[in-house]
Subunit: 350 residues, 2 copies
């Protein structure tokens, strides 16, 4: 039996609960796995049931719960329950929740999360979490930090543990930037496409976060660390494609983009002239990690990357001539929840 | 501590031992994993050491061993040792060795193998092995049955267990057929390319086994079963591209291919006329599984498949618009041994 404590029941969290609700009895019958949710929280409430919360009506139970959420209260209850095979699932993007992992792992409570904060923090903190997990026999799993449900981190782990050496990584890891560059062809203005991406919920509420490439930077950092390399976020070079001046605009950001449309038009014109498409690429080559836009020619595997797809090309000592490639939807609630589910199954397999 | 009993020390087996030899101390230090080889066999000899065989000189130990190999002797020793976390690794392609799995799993000895015989045998046998493993708490792992070290089967398993539904699979799974069709452009004869592939060791000693597509048929069957579908090998339709008459030729096969060069020339000419390349494709769509050659247009992901690369496209309820794609070297000792290593790590994780 596996006991889950879940914080964060937004899009991803709610979808995960729905997926688990459908699979609970099947996993029990087919794989002798009894996976129960014993704790649930959002930013307002929390709700616990040691015997397992009924997943058909978790919403009224949580939203109507008399217990207001507090991090201390949640931690205390997890420890008081003291159940074997306890797992803390963090579906938030909050640094405050990520700050609880160390205490969880130390208390033999495993941690599963799509939240990138911990793994892209200082290398020391990242390493501490990993070694605490190892020492305590708990698990720290975060496959969904990069590429949602795509099996990228697990594959890197296996490659490294089997003694192979990761020599280069080339990847497109941002669904929002992909959408923007796939749709910007010079007809509609760049500013318009960005506001469209924002309207559709493909970017953060502040689209500058996407356009700055910080999210991609965090992702390639995590891939490097999982490949066995010791890097800090500052060591990932970012070549900005929007001037610092424009990025400073908080209120009038879209309008300022519009005012600078000529620059973006030139960018796309020069790409077209070379028969290329523009992609926002994260790369690691000869010890140098960087992120930025690149002109991608027709015969390159990145050229035909549609929609929210992510792609990773990995060259190793054993994948020499052609890379190992993993590609597919890299964002969205269903595939992210799937990836969390896969981590729960990996935990359950131990 | 994990205890391995290895049968088959050819190309793949020897490479696996070499990889393990390099990683043993690292895994011990970094992951608290002590992986020892306690039994080794080829078709002539077998050698055992309960404390772990020194992997730097396994060759003289095995080749100079006084114990002649017998299946009964090997099984008996495994059982007599009665070690916790015992794993039987079958690196052969022998049906006789595959026939031992049931007994292993029943004795709580896990099985890891690139040998496709068991999983492509009758569905009943396949299911028996899986349910024996589940019942006994042993593991039956065969990631390398399809695509060598590529994470295909593990990914299918996670997809299915998380409640997603696999709706279609399209794949190129044969390194040898890929080599043949990549190199046949109508200049050199088809027969010449086949004999060249044979000379380079890319085909079986009898290349008709590759050209018949039986190997691909077995692989797609295994993918279907791992996707949760109940299929027998006869239910996978094969559309032959070489006439039965030619395939009957055992002694003069290459010469007979040469005599029929006109047919193959027509095949390639008609593909070229449509700006297509020929690939040997395994597919599963709307409940129908089939294998055969297909004309692949330029914008299809199979078009630029080089060397020994395999590729799998998976459409599911959650990967709808674009498929989940896994691509990379699908044959070769180093990547196959890597895949076996990954299975050993999966076993060790439990």
């Amino acid at each position: 039996r596996v006991n889950l404590f879940i914080i964060g029941v937004g899009n991803v969290g709610a979808t995960f609960i729905e997926q688990l609700n459908k699979q609970q009895s099947i996993l029990n019958a087919k794989s002798h796995l009894d996976i129960q949710v014993v704790g649930l929280a959002n930013s307002k409430n929390m709700y616990f049931n040691e015997d397992g919360i009924s997943l058909s009506d978790w919403k009224p139970l949580l939203f109507g719960s008399e217990f207001p959420f507090s991090r201390e209260g949640f931690m205390k209850t997890m420890k008081t329950f003291n159940l074997r095979n306890s797992v803390f699932i963090d579906n938030t993007d909050s640094p405050e929740i990520a700050a609880l992992y160390q205490d969880c792992l130390n208390s033999s409570i495993s941690v599963i999360t799509p939240n990138k904060v911990a793994c892209s923090s200082s290398y020391e903190n990242y390493l501490n979490l990993k070694s605490t997990a190892l020492k305590m026999g708990s698990k720290f799993l975060f496959e969904t930090n990069v590429g949602a449900g795509l099996p990228i981190i697990g594959t890197l782990n296996e490659i490294v543990k089997s003694g192979d050496q990761i020599n280069s990584i080339e990847a497109v890891l941002s669904g929002s930037l992909n959408f923007i560059f796939n749709n910007y062809d010079g007809k509609d203005s760049f500013g318009h496409i960005v506001s469209e991406a924002k309207r559709l919920g493909y970017t953060e509420p502040d689209p500058r976060i996407d356009l700055s490439g910080i999210d991609v930077k965090r992702k390639i950092l995590i891939l490097l660390r999982e490949s066995g390399y010791h890097y800090e976020i500052e060591e990932v070079e970012t070549i900005p494609f929007i001037s610092e001046e424009i990025m400073k605009e908080e209120q009038n950001f879209i309008a300022t983009l519009e005012n600078n449309e000529e620059d973006f038009k030139q960018l796309i014109a020069s790409a077209k002239k070379q028969n290329c498409r523009i992609k926002y690429v994260a790369s690691f080559k000869e010890g140098k990690a960087s992120t930025g836009i690149q002109y991608i020619p027709k015969d390159h595997p990145f050229y035909q990357l549609e929609g929210k797809d992510n792609i990773v090309l990995i060259h190793t000592d054993r994948y020499v001539d052609q890379p190992l490639v993993i590609k597919g939807a890299g964002a969205g609630a269903a595939v992210t929840a799937s990836g969390i589910f896969a981590d729960v199954l990996r935990f359950a397999n131990k």
